[in-house]
Amino acid sequence: MSIRTEEMVLNMGPQHPSTHGVLRLELTLEGEIITKVVPHIGYLHRCFEKHCEAMTYQQVVPYTDRMDYLAAMGNELGYAIAVEKLLNIQVPERVEYIRVIMAELQRIASHLVAIGTYGADIGAFTPFLYCFRDREKILHLFEITCGARLLYNYIWPGGLSHDLHPDFVRLTREFIKEFRPNLVELNNLLTFNRIFIDRTANVGILPVETAINFGITGPMLRGSGMKWDLRRDDPYSVYHKFDFDIPVGEGKMGTVGDSWDRYYVRVREMEESLKIIEQALDQLPEGDVTSAIPKRIKPPVGQVYTRIENPRGELGYFIISDGSTSPFRVKVRAPSFVNLQIMDELCRGHMVADVVAILGSVDIVLGEVDR
């Protein structure tokens, strides 16, 4: 006698705690095994690109914050670099250094959320609280700098809205000193936890050729073992002056390119970011941070594609100028948008519970996917 079986379609989301926003995954199941995943996005679409065409270049900056809201500094930095390239202006040294410090602090804050929520998704709730405790200190540093904790409007084309607070350098050094031992603690709590390894190692293996063909960038690509980091491979700002390593996945707990590797790359990237911040603080030059800000931005006719290494991967801005004070076209190449495409490839053949583990390791921010 044979048992009658049939495929089942299961909707995960749009309201699901582990989707980190409003994402609907349409799973096709053969028993417990996934045969197909179709992501449905667009629930947070708010016409960013259309808005840009009706605003001046300066007015776009606060809107960029709201794309990847966990890494708003990075978004502003990418936009500022793109507009500066269109205008062909140089910014003072001090501005570049402060931008790097902010972008790296932001990277740590963003990775802390990624790591904390990843643990929480899989069932480890305590590391989540530890991560958010440390992230809070970074948000405090941002708050004393520009008054905002999440959406800063701090990095402007041509400069910065404020100079650093007099206490900023001291407080940042204190934070670095406190944070290093906390990273060790995090590793003991979560990274090398047997249960965590069992849930993530050998799950969602991403070979490097597939990753490149799918345009995957950031910690996901590095987790697959490829040393590719725009801070080194296509340097922007003053990153060429700093000495740092690029961690890649090594398959320590399973296969190269599994979820654990992607997770561990993020942990090690935080250490590298600390190194960069320390060097930048040591070399921080004096100067005026607002002197190069143009009063009126009216770039010549032209187009530019610039990209930076955001915590989630390559963030690209493609801006076309028609010679007026507002952009003719802004296209954002959001890293999460591109990275999310791989879900089907990664999940096929795994169990339903692994979808959560894989999605967490992809680390998406829906604000950026939907724009």
Partner: protein
């Protein structure tokens, strides 16, 4: 590592029947204009040629060139007739470390471009977005549906410059 002039020459030698133009007079970025129905052939060549190896599609963007004739429709709204829509491809080689920008233009009234989703998988969603926002139909695309807008959106393509908001969407008044 090859400059855009060298790449242009290689393409010209290999595709004598395609109409290729090199544009270098635009500040900050030069690009090669290719015909919309040869995009797949040229892309496959760019990816697989051992001197070029463009294995990474960084970005694919649709653009409304807004170069047609402005006319008034029966409601007095300004709409565009004729003109072109364009697609920009930003390519990079992770092994040889060079970059390339391609552009292709297609008519606004019947915009059709051959898909490259089979060549670079990352193009899949980018092309769906360009279809969603500009109405550019990508021939041979495996799954050409709307992506950011609702699947039942029937009021046109929002990023076109002459796009008009609908008055009602599913019984809700839109301009509030």
């Amino acid at each position: 590592m090859k400059t855009i002039e060298e790449i242009f020459q290689i393409l010209k030698d290999n595709f004598p029947n395609s109409e290729l133009t090199l544009k270098t007079d635009i500040p900050t970025e030069s690009f090669i204009i290719i015909p919309p129905f040869d995009v797949d052939k040229i892309s496959l060549f760019l990816r697989d040629n051992s001197d070029l190896q463009f294995d990474l599609l960084m970005c694919l963007s649709g653009v409304d060139d807004f170069n047609g004739q402005k006319v008034k429709d029966e409601n007095g709204n300004e709409i565009m007739q004729g003109g072109t829509l364009s697609v920009y491809y930003h390519l990079e080689s992770t092994t040889l470390r060079h970059k390339l920008v391609l552009k292709t233009s297609t008519s606004r009234d019947n915009p059709e471009v051959v898909s490259v989703a089979e060549i670079w998988n990352s193009a899949n969603w980018h092309e769906r977005e360009a279809y969603d926002m500009f109405g550019i139909k990508f021939i041979n695309h495996p799954d050409l549906r709307r992506i950011l807008m609702p699947y039942d959106w029937e009021f046109g393509y929002p990023l076109r410059k002459d796009y008009q908001n609908p008055e009602f969407y599913q019984g809700m008044k839109v301009p509030y």
